[in-house]
């Protein structure tokens, strides 16, 4: 038995050494291409890592290219991006602030995929408004009531950001009776455990070990196959790349759109009923804004959705019109060429629209 135990130890030694090298010697982003991959949580360990990213992290990562074709000759040039996360695992500089008047709930756009910390929508908006803005992203709206800080501090404004394609599949439901209220003693204890630096460090180390980035890196190198020629592109030379291509601009049935309107309206009623201003911020698909370059008819889903939401009394930001105008008239790009997400100009545009709306003391609409 002892002989076998020794042999097992001897055999496993190189594997243990490789894991130790990755976890404790090399930088955390050594085998990853983007900060997102480095910091994203894969295993929550029963809720120990509750947020989408590793908590209390500061990372400056040199990212090359977007998420659509990072290794192509047309990849956008190298860029240092700063990522900072708070104790809850969201992309926010840790601060002693206990209440954020504005919460942005959203997808990877709101989380700042491909952007540096200061370019994030929440940071840009915070600067414009001079108010604390918290990015609850990427997450669905119900996570407000699961966040250890936000769940008991009622904000003044909730901005729900959603990419156009995400609206069709979006989870806009929240538990009936959910409300902002003080945590029980047990909940407080649980959060104390979760936020303890030793627990967080252990959970992050374990998650990094299970993510096995070194192994994934090597596997990706060995098993790499040429990318499918189906990367949707347009233009000559270095093309603009798209996630879904023509498919994204297909017609959406009226009933699907009406169902989305109903759900968003219910959310709006829920929050305004609690005295919170609710703003819906749809982001057009990249394919929508570049429909001409793609050679597809201009999609009308978002335009109709915005009109119907306004009709239903939901406060909604018309990014469709603003994005089209800027792209067509000024010729400025609001999306990275080789990434699905908006760029800093896209963020600035949306933030300007939202801050303009918020400057109006009373909402332009109330849910009917």
């Amino acid at each position: 038995m002892k002989k076998y135990a020794l042999k097992y130890c001897l055999f496993l030694l190189p594997f243990a050494a490789a894991i130790a090298l990755e976890l404790f010697v090399l930088p955390g982003d050594f085998f990853t291409f983007r900060a997102w991959e480095t910091l994203v949580v894969k295993h929550t360990f029963g809720g120990l890592l509750k947020g989408p990213f590793y908590p209390n992290m500061t990372l400056v990562k040199t990212e090359t290219g977007g998420d659509l074709k990072p290794s192509s000759a047309c990849a956008e040039k190298k860029k240092d991006v700063l990522w900072q996360t708070d104790a809850y695992g969201y992309r926010k500089v840790p601060s002693p602030v206990r209440r954020y008047p504005v919460i942005v709930v959203g997808d990877s756009n709101a989380a700042g995929g491909g952007l540096s910390q200061e370019e994030m929508f929440s940071e840009v908006l915070e600067k414009r408004l001079g108010l604390g803005v918290y990015p609850l992203a990427p997450d669905s709206i119900k996570y407000i009531f699961k966040h250890g800080l936000l769940k008991e501090t009622k904000p003044d404004v909730i901005i729900l950001e959603n990419i156009e394609r995400g609206i069709l599949t979006g989870n806009f439901t929240i538990r009936p009776g959910a409300s902002f209220q003080e945590m029980s003693r047990a909940e407080r204890l649980l959060w104390k455990i979760r936020l303890h630096p030793v627990v967080q460090r252990a959970a992050v180390t374990l998650d990094r070990a299970l993510k096995a980035n070194m192994l994934q890196f090597l596997r990706a190198r060995i098993n790499a196959r040429p990318a499918a020629a189906a990367a949707h592109s347009s233009g000559n030379g270095c093309p603009i790349l798209f996630l879904q291509g023509e498919k994204a601009n297909r017609d959406v049935p009226d009933e699907t759109r009406r169902a989305a309107v109903r759900k968003i309206r219910e959310l709006s009623i829920f929050f305004t009923g609690q005295g919170i201003r609710f703003i819906f911020l749809p982001i057009p698909n990249k394919e929508n804004i570049y429909s001409r370059e793609l050679g597809t008819p201009r999609p009308v889903f978002l335009e109709k959705l915005i009109a119907e939401l306004r009709e239903a009394g939901v406060e909604v930001i018309d990014t469709q019109k603003a994005y089209e105008d800027i792209t067509r008239r000024e010729g400025r790009h609001l999306y990275h060429r080789d990434d699905t997400h908006w760029n800093a100009a896209g963020v600035e545009t949306a933030a300007a629209l939202v801050s303009e709306a918020l400057r109006q003391k009373t909402p332009a609409a109330a849910p009917r």
């Binding site: 002989k3 135990a5 001897l10 055999f11 192994l215 596997r219 196959r225």
Partner: protein, 487 residues
């Protein structure tokens, strides 16, 4: 829970630890609880069917055992078999029969809307039903006594490493082991672990690499020339072997780690020198089941020549149907039956031809030729097994020999072979097949375990590192499930 996932192995190790910690008399509880939770993880409703089949077999065998009158025993057996095969029929074949009836009536110009039941076939049902059938028949024949302990019997039926795709264990071989007092044995555990690694290598490194080629061609055979079709067919022969025998190695290896011996299911099947030899080497637990519980009861080779041939066709037609409710599987089975009938009919002329050309005096070339011909026949039959439909299978068969004139044109050969558009894929596929061939060649003379036993530690470690590194680095990120899980 995928059979090759880290979660499955963590689960298996936890069960193993518990198995050797609890008192021997309670080990069946650990096995049964683990097996049932493993099965329920696929779909909780499946568990009800498994429990029903287990209880029916358990009760049926006790009833048969209790009766002395031959007639009553026979009736009990028939009731038990109807129950087991009825469940299999309902879940696996009702929709197939319904669709076939609709097609038949459609050809006759009659309208038939069908019943279209929305069943999901419970995983592993064909395996545990056949196991229960063999148990009932064995009890009826008084080859084994009926098991009185319901828990031990249930653990025999549901033992999780073999539950989904066998081997189809005989009660006489497996049941007594569940009551034996076996202590943890580090050597046996290590040997089991090595077999599990070899199984994983076969599945994740070889079968999955080959699957990339095969899937591309079978998704759109019309787009490929005969060379590509032939390559895909040959690769599929090795893919299905590595896939299924890989699963079996994992199951047998896990069994060994528990101290339980499972039946060997494969013995280098592509070294077979005839189709009957192939069936002695391929899916041995099923072929021996079909021999003992179908072929011999039908009269085997003792009931006249024509009946003998008919028995082949019936047995292999049903063998095909057992694999799946589709005419492609039936065609595959019937083709094997046809091969065997032809083999019998042509035995004498073939021997005379071999003598005439002098092959009978050259055993090595004669053996190679036989192996090659058997492999080609088996590969042609696999086309029906893999094809989506009979028409696709006939299309591939019909175009297998087209476009070979471009074989030596350098610019044409690349696209014909680089089906996944990756040179690395092709190199790794060929290398992994060479590796498999070397291992099998070594195994021809000596069992791998014994072969390695006398070697220095570094040589053994080097081989194991190749296996583990291959599994970790060469397995695709999204491996498909085992082919035989669908049966």
């Amino acid at each position: 829970m995928d059979f090759y996932s880290p979660e499955f192995f963590a689960f298996s190790l936890a069960v193993l630890a518990l198995y050797f910690v609890v008192p021997v008399r309670l080990r069946w509880v650990v096995l049964l609880a683990a097996s049932y939770s493993f099965y329920a993880a696929f779909k909780a409703a499946y568990l009800g069917i498994l429990v029903f089949c287990t209880l029916a077999a358990y009760g049926g065998a006790l009833a048969i055992n209790r009766c002395e009158a031959r007639q009553t025993r026979r009736l009990m057996l028939i009731a038990g078999l109807v129950c087991q095969l009825g469940i299999l029929g309902i879940f696996k074949y009702v929709n197939f029969l319904d669709a076939s009836l609709g097609q038949l009536l459609g050809w006759g110009g009659m309208a038939y809307s069908g019943v279209a039941l929305t069943f999901i076939v419970p995983v592993g049902i064909s395996f545990y039903v056949f196991q229960n059938v063999s148990y009932l028949v064995d009890v009826y024949r008084r080859d084994v006594p009926a098991e009185r302990h319901p828990g031990i019997f249930a653990a025999y039926v549901a033992f999780f490493p073999k539950l989904l795709s066998g081997p189809i264990e005989r009660a006489s071989q497996f049941l007594p082991q569940l009551s034996e007092h076996s202590r943890f044995d580090a050597e046996r555990f290590t040997n089991g672990l090595k077999l599990v690694c070899w199984g994983l290598f076969k599945k994740l490194v070889i079968a999955e690499r080959l699957a990339a080629f095969v899937n591309v061609v079978y998704a759109d055979p019309q787009a490929y020339s005969g060379v590509s079709l032939a390559l895909a067919c040959v690769f599929y022969s090795f893919q299905i072997y590595c896939d299924f025998s890989g699963y079996t190695d994992i199951a047998i290896g896990l069994g060994q780690m528990f101290g339980l011996r499972l039946t060997d299911n494969f013995n280098r099947p592509y070294s077979a020198t005839s189709i009957s030899d192939f069936w002695r080497r391929w899916h041995i637990s099923l072929s021996s089941w079909l021999r003992d519980y179908l072929y011999i009861p039908l009269g085997g080779n003792r009931a006249g020549v024509l009946r003998h041939y008919l028995n082949y066709l019936v047995v292999f037609g049903l063998c095909g149907l057992w694999h799946g409710a589709s005419w492609t599987f039936v065609a595959w089975g019937l083709l094997h039956g046809f091969y065997l009938v032809c083999g019998r009919i042509t035995a004498k002329p073939r021997a005379a031809l071999a003598a005439a050309v002098g092959l009978d005096r050259k055993p090595a070339p004669a053996r190679c030729l036989k192996i090659l011909i058997t492999f080609i026949l088996v590969t042609l039959a696999w086309i029906f097994f893999r094809a989506e439909s009979l028409s696709q299978a006939f299309y591939i068969l019909g175009h297998l020999f087209s476009g070979w004139e471009n074989l030596f044109a350098a610019e044409a050969l690349g696209p014909m072979l680089l089906l996944t558009k990756s040179r690395t894929d092709l190199v790794l596929a060929v290398l992994s097949l060479v590796f498999l061939g070397v291992v099998h060649a070594l195994e021809r003379h000596e069992n791998m375990r014994r072969l390695f036993a006398g070697r220095p530690l570094w040589a053994r470690f080097a081989f194991y590192y190749v296996l583990v590194a291959g599994i970790l680095l060469l397995s695709p990120p999204n491996a498909a499930n085992f082919i035989y899980f669908q049966f």
